[in-house]
Symmetry: C2
Subunit: 246 residues, 2 copies
């Protein structure tokens, strides 16, 4: 197994960091890695905001409810960005661009471009001995995050990422069996048996892990999560920012 | 620079492959890497379909207009998947889940989950000396791809990925300068100067590269691309499949 595969397979989300900032050199490497990811039709439809201002970090920690959004080596926010592509457009050209700027195709393109860049950043950081955690909970108050970062139209925050020197080594969380996420040639509609096997694995995992033991299964957890409507305001905010409207 | 960073920074999209299939062992490693990516709230909201059937590969190559979708070491299609989460739900529970299944939040979650997994797969493959290329053009006819792969409701194809032993070494395409994609604390609305500098870089790149030289700049290329409405049907197909409806 090579060093890269080892790094990837060793991933766990890190939520406690030593009080050591990510160095300029590390950050440059992480950003270069992010930028080298594939991008749809050369659009590079994302922006990364590094948040260092203590007041902004405090506000973001409150929005996410996660203390490590304030206490970390560095905080990045990954945004979908189609604004840059409009910068050189005349008013007439901008009008003509709107169908693309506002359709689901380019909402997908920009979200996927941002995610590919982010995962390169994550793997690069981990290969240097740093730990990371994605922060989806910035979408708890997407409009407020949008304001804090002064984002123009056609730019929306998607998720954050905290990076730093790990101060703990959490257990690795099991993944669904390969047989439940990988199919050959066509989707296997009936894969309850694979989920059942995983529920057993997960029940054992929750019982045996070092901290925060509980009785739970994956399918129960998902049922609870999905039956409780979450972040219903994201739809409207995304549209208000000019994405996903037509 | 460690091996992982080197692998990531050396990325180029590979579109010509030797006639050597990806081995079972390589594929298992690539899939394990994909699965170890971070996932929003443990949802693992994606499915990967490996396409080996020659007839299906031919159909997908026609849809994408890209011969290497047929000729490669292995072809993967990454899908957003919220179907799995409904498998154990009663009809009443399913009704209750619909708000989440259909909102933009979970459209984003599943697209991002799939992209994070895909980029881990890409880096893992490249670390083993394989080459990859993302295939966004499966969205040329999303409904047909959906049919070919027999996807249920709440599953949509997002993009493909071809993997194999590289038969060429294309030039690396320049990326936007860091100053155009990374900002500290807030978005820099006026970054035309950074784009102008990049346009110069790109004009030189297109003139100097080994094959397919042309006169072009990045901003011109983007203006052309965005003023021509593309894949406007994706919006409707995504909704028909139960995503992004409310």
């Amino acid at each position: 197994m090579n060093q890269t595969i080892e790094t990837i397979l060793n991933h766990r989300s890190i939520r406690q960091f030593k009080e050591v900032p990510v160095t300029e050199e590390q950050l440059d490497t992480i950003l270069a890695a992010a930028q080298q990811a594939s991008t749809s039709s050369y659009m590079m439809a994302y922006t990364i905001i590094g948040v260092t201002d203590e007041h902004k970090k405090t506000e973001l920690a409150e929005i996410t409810g996660q203390g490590y959004v304030k206490k970390n080596g560095h905080l990045l926010v990954f945004c979908a960005d189609l604004y840059r592509h409009t910068l050189n457009a005349s008013p007439e050209q901008y009008e003509q661009m709107l169908s693309n700027l506002e359709n689901s195709e380019h909402f997908l393109v920009s979200a996927i471009d941002a995610a590919l860049a982010a995962q390169n950043a994550a793997v690069a950081a981990e290969s240097m001995g740093l730990g990371i955690c994605y922060i989806g909970s910035i979408r708890n108050q997407l409009d407020k995050v949008d304001e804090i970062l002064h984002l123009p139209k056609h730019v929306i925050p998607l998720f954050g990422m905290v990076i730093g020197v790990p101060a703990h080594t959490p257990d690795q969380k099991p993944r669904l069996p390969k047989a439940a996420v990988y199919f050959e040639n066509e989707y296997k509609h009936d894969h309850e048996a694979e989920l059942e096997a995983f529920d057993q694995t997960i029940a054992e995992y929750y019982q045996s892990r070092k901290t925060n033991t509980r009785n739970d299964s994956w399918t129960d957890q998902m049922l609870r999560r999905f039956t409780n409507p979450m972040r219903m305001d994201v739809t409207g905010i995304v549209k208000k920012k000019g994405f996903n409207k037509q």
